[in-house]
Symmetry: C2
Subunit: 189 residues, 2 copies
């Protein structure tokens, strides 16, 4: 395994199956800004790997091109902090492939933890997940783009993380912001 | 005063004076995505107001047009969660005007707290600032775009907030992510 293991937390940004604002299951588009933002947050909290998950070949190619641009040649020289951020970023077709890649890399199946804005019966508290992380279990945090992960993903996950919970009823954080807050809560010293 | 006061925390996103990547003082461009993302985070944590601060008239007009689009007519109908998020968003020319507007609105001068990636002699801990917020002092949190707030802003602020501090040396969070983490640390229940 070529990676330097920093901790055994991994992150997947899922573009299918997710909901659109009408509650229909769709493939959402990859936002390159998401890739940059989340890569920086991932790097800041020493998350081991960041998978951009999409079934669309052209979208996977877009992310691969983006990574290549900033990792090599002019891009790497122009902005080395982007290069550093993107070192943990990978591309996969679906969640199954992500888990199977991680199982190979970690030598054991990761615990999958889905995230969302609602409370579920199998929800896990931040404090408890922090303990799991300290016990060095490999963890895959799964985030949905669009209007959130399809129910099937929540049902199949080992846990669903408690919602962030702001003040009051408003419940519409951008996934970029949710990831920043969740990694800070789980991983900051 | 027409606003419903939720708490007495306010936020300014400053586009001048900030540094570019070569350490020169510049005016950075307003990113409309910043306005949407930060408005949602602000709304989630019941921050009272969000000032987009730029000396450029065309950029202020851009933000005003954006707010108008989503607050009225088709935009408001198409995406009501954006409308709700943008209710606290305002535009000012500079930090001085922001403080003076806030002083009028709050009936007293706010404590200004600058933010950045470095530690300073007048740094304040998250825990202490949380206490100040609970004591109902009006607080203006000041964030810089680009490569961060110019030194003059840090020197003039009442406090500089402790840096977020990830794991290791990497220190390049997008301002959107920094705002999400800082508001969560200061305001989440």
């Amino acid at each position: 395994m070529a990676d330097k293991i920093k901790n055994d937390v991994h992150l997947a940004l899922v573009h299918y199956p997710v909901y659109n604002k009408n509650g229909e299951t769709v493939v959402s588009s990859v936002t390159t800004l998401d890739v940059h933002d989340i890569s920086r947050v991932v790097r800041t909290f020493a998350v081991n790997s960041f998978y951009v998950v999409t079934p669309l070949k052209t979208q996977r190619q877009l992310v691969e091109r983006l990574i290549e641009h900033w990792m090599t040649g002019y891009g790497a020289e122009y902005n080395p902090t982007r290069k550093e951020a993107l070192q943990a970023t990978r591309v996969t077709h679906n969640l199954k492939e992500t888990v199977s890649d991680l199982t190979k890399r970690c030598g054991q199946k990761p615990l999958t933890v889905a995230t969302g804005a609602k409370q579920f019966s199998n929800s896990i508290e931040f404090r408890r997940l922090r303990e799991e992380i300290r016990s060095e279990t490999p963890i895959l945090l799964v985030f949905g783009t669009g209007w959130g992960l399809e129910k099937s993903i929540l049902n199949e996950a080992d846990y669903v993380l408690d919602p962030i919970g702001g003040i009051g009823e408003y419940n519409h954080l951008p996934v970029r912001a949710a990831i920043a807050i969740i990694l800070d809560r789980l991983l900051a010293r």
